[in-house]
Symmetry: D2
Subunit: 250 residues, 4 copies
């Protein structure tokens, strides 16, 4: 067996960061060499010989962290949110001068969520209709969920590329909101259900058959296989990679 990959975690005391530390620690092929959070000395990550840095921090500091990693020649796996096209371009510019470094920025490390979106996108052009249902706990502030909106956008794009028109819909009398939110022409429905965590269903229909892709996420721990996959793969993928899907070889 080869040497374990040396991993430093930024945001190590946050909810995702703690999980990431635990997951790295439990993996035989990875070694947790640094745990850093706000107030800690960032350079200790480099001092500890980290080869890959995992970042679950905050939009305010994540860019500095990435800059630091690239300067130090450390690969980065970034789950912090708030990336705009501008931020991604900045990262690309920085990476141009460090051609051996890889950075993965992923808005969602849930492999199931990523697979769901990908399958919905692949299947969309074979079905006349497509709608998205998302079900979350009642403490969620936004509706629909970001994942549901993204899924609908991907379906809508796949339909456009295939030259498909609007979904058929003969509704003439509707109560307000009955048909859900319209995201690029794809209807999205958000339920808030006590006892649930994070669930999504894509319902595709054609004459005589339907296809349903359902993802149930019950625990934050479900994001860790995706994080570990990123840690293991990023050294082999110099430059910027956006989204976990690029690593799934679908």
């Amino acid at each position: 067996m080869s040497e374990p990959i040396r991993v430093g975690v930024l945001g190590a005391r946050g909810r995702m960061g703690q999980q990431a530390c635990r997951a790295v620690d439990a993996a035989d092929d990875l070694e947790l060499v640094a745990m850093v959070d706000a107030g800690d000395w960032l350079f200790s990550v480099a001092d500890a010989g980290s080869q890959v840095l995992v970042d679950f921090t905050h939009p305010d500091v994540v860019m500095d962290n990435i800059r630091f990693a690239i300067d130090q020649g450390i690969h980065a796996v970034v789950g912090t949110t708030g990336f705009t096209a501008e931020r991604l371009d900045t990262v690309r510019t920085w990476l141009a001068d460090a051609p051996q470094v890889g950075v993965l920025v992923a808005p969602n490390f849930g492999i199931g969520a990523v697979l769901s979106m990908r399958f919905a996108q692949l299947a969309a052009r074979f079905y006349d209709t497509a709608e998205v249902i998302e079900l979350h706990h009642p403490h969620k502030a936004d509706a629909p969920s970001g994942t549901a909106v993204r899924t609908a956008e991907l379906i809508a794009a796949a339909r456009r590329e295939a030259g498909m028109g609007a979904v058929p819909d003969a509704t003439t009398q509707a109560r307000d909101g009955a048909r859900g939110a319209d995201v690029d022409g794809v209807h999205v429905h958000a339920l808030r259900v006590a006892g649930m965590v994070a669930h999504q269903e894509v319902v595709l229909g054609a004459e005589g058959e339907t296809l349903t892709i359902r993802h149930d996420s019950l625990d934050r721990v479900s994001f860790m296989p995706g994080v570990l996959l990123g840690v293991r793969e990023i050294a082999r993928r110099p430059g910027l990679t956006v989204g976990l899907e690029a690593l799934l070889d679908l």
Copy 2:
């Protein structure tokens, strides 16, 4: 075995009427003695010795048909739509003079739909949240379906009776329509899916658990067991019975 019950069908050439004729004909304990439609001689139903009349006609003529049945001492099982509280009161007045005659007026003969609604109503007070999803073919004009609206109303009433307040919902940022239609405080979501027929899901949630009651209706033939149940039971239930649920002994 006792004598078969003699049954006449009004609206016999319509879609539901045809199914009803076939179902009565196939039942060993029932005998189809008259099939009448617009333009036929209504009295032939009485002449043929009908003991029970099944009515799948039209709101414009159904009241005349019921009046006729009561006058003739024939029980009636009515699936025609368009009954208001006023119409039901009129039928009750007529029945006051014919204490031996039974009339069943049912907006929905699907036993599964009726069970779904009843179960949702019974379960509602044990769950913090309740929402309704209905899925129909894309040719449907109204959204949500009448059954979904009725289900939501029943849930809302059960919550009120149990002294429950509004469902918890922390949504602060929502796209238009994302949270569905609000029916007495219960959110209802309508999907239009090619390949589907008529489906409904009631999703109830409490801390740590959820209960889902799903009904899938694929064919109009599914209404026939409810119609036959009405035909078999109505002679034993003089007066007006509204809704199939009264016959299900739940």
Copy 3:
């Protein structure tokens, strides 16, 4: 508001007992006055003035606990397993001499599980076929689950009472086990799925329609509303009550 009910918990350091203590403590109308576990002085429950005792202990000691409660005139809500018909008869004999005391013995305090079973039982006679799927985490030792077996037995009994014969099944070529376990003629299928907790689906079918009752239990906390319901109701129900369903007024 009336005085809170004074509650003592036996097995207070066990997994269910801890949850019960927490739930009683959090309820405004209940007061947690005693927490007892193996090695503690049982009489402290009485000394503390407990009006209702909650027992999540062990089959070896539960009968002694119930005897003690009855002798002290304390009502008991018992979730400990291992009750046979003989044990229940013994409890009944003891209660004959304490006509004011109520004892609830419930194998399952999940309201959703109890509702599922009840709804399956009520619906069974309207459907030609009925099967049960249960899905649990892969650490479970028995298959199918006790709840699934009980559900199938209830369905089978309901079918018998309604004079229904065997379910239709034209299978002539089957791989071993494909059609599941046969519980009184009802087929039961057990899945073991990583990431799942405890889930059950009853699938009922008739010509042209199906009815599915699904229960998802994600956390032990879901049993607590049933325990609290027992605590609140048992004083009003002298004698032995078996099963939570008796308290649900279905």
Copy 4:
């Protein structure tokens, strides 16, 4: 718009053949030029100038039909069952001498079924456990369905390729059949439900999340988009193509 493709249908009076004729006839870019069944003159297909032949006949005659098509330089889309590796090899031999002719042999023209299988196969390596549920009408003779067996085999192969071991399963006490049929280590459960047609669910589980891929097939018409896709694509794919999935560009 280019010239429509000229299509001949063999087995034109069978259930699938009739649907195929109707579907070809309804498509603007296809022209139905010959309908042939047992007793008809096979050469009329060639005489009518068929460019593609659709075969829904019988295992006894399908090889002769394919031979004929290849000899005539007509492409073939074959849905007839009963193809063994030997038969496929024979077709390959014949095609060696007709390098411009394409033959598609597909055991399943349901795009949804093919997508389900493909998605299950792609996702399998990311999940610790995988099981298959299939639900069919109670008139079905075999259990599990051929599609379910094939799906399980594909999942098992994907797990093997990824170096995964047996699925975790702590079951020590099981009723006979409770855990379903074992297909290459993947458990498959077959339900027979009145009112259902042909349905399949693949349930994948990992720590903290599950992914479910469900396909509902309600009508034979759902196979037609797959047949038409084959007709449109086969001219561009000389040689033998096995399975519709090759044409879906997944």
